[in-house]
Amino acid sequence: MASDVTRFNIQTIDGVTIAKFIDNRILDEATIQVIGEQMYRLVDDHGLRKVVLDFESVEHLSSAALGKLINMKKKMDAAGGQLAMCSLRSELLKIFKVTKLTKVFDIHASVEKALKGF
């Protein structure tokens, strides 16, 4: 998997895949496009059904990135899988709260807390 999902650090814990963003800025369109495609591959090509997206490294996120995350959630729901997010710093959490996407996504403070939901 590592060769085609280079924008993530991937590890598996108890059957759950932790996909940690490497980029600290998911802001410009070119970066978002690549990250989006790699993220979708986790579901479409690698058949993963239990995924935690780890935002610990992410400092900036734009509305276009939110769009990719929403599409990822839809893909996972359609595949009958489960998607969670964790370790969002306060600036990022504010973006999710303002847009009320906290109602859409399963957001946890840490990887450990996210894993308990599976």
Binding site: L27, D28, E29, A30, E59, H60, L61, S62, S63, A64, L66, G67, K68, I70, N71, K73, K74, E91, K94, I95, V98, T99, K100, L101, K103, V104
Partner: protein, 139 residues
């Protein structure tokens, strides 16, 4: 102290060029001592404003230009972004927080700018955006 223009650039509607422009402006803000607290908010608003101008305003037509100006008046930063599109009425943008819109992948840019800036203003045509924020500068 009066307002001073610290940046002015006109460029083709290309998202890669926009990324370079944003980097220039960010470095300029940093050279003026903008705090780490304000920088992410300003970067987000700038990205959203330029992306809207290029994608929705100029429809990714590289023959059309975007102009971005940045002004500084003591601790108040004002950005003006102008595109060559037909404009839009920001009041017509559906509320992305309504239950029926929550899972739509787009339509949150204006809302984020309004959330993070002190003021967001469109001209009557809707092809010129101004956003303003009082920031902390460490110099």
């Amino acid at each position: 102290m009066s307002e001073t223009m610290i940046y002015n650039q006109t460029f083709a509607s290309d998202l890669h060029v926009s990324a370079d422009i944003q980097k220039e402006i960010q470095e300029l803000w940093q050279s003026h001592g903008m705090s780490d607290m304000d920088l992410p908010d300003m970067q987000l608003a700038l990205e959203e404003g330029l992306a809207n101008a290029i994608k929705h305003g100029n429809q990714l037509d590289t023959s059309k230009k975007v102009t971005v100006e940045c002004y500084l008046n003591e601790d108040v930063v004002r950005i003006v972004i102008q595109d060559e599109g037909d404009g839009f009425d920001p009041n017509d943008v559906p509320d992305p927080t309504l239950p029926e819109n929550l899972d739509k992948p787009s339509g949150r840019g204006v809302m984020l700018m309004k959330a993070f800036m002190d003021d967001v203003i469109y001209n009557d045509v809707g092809n010129q955006l101004t956003f303003i924020k009082r920031c902390t500068f460490n110099n």
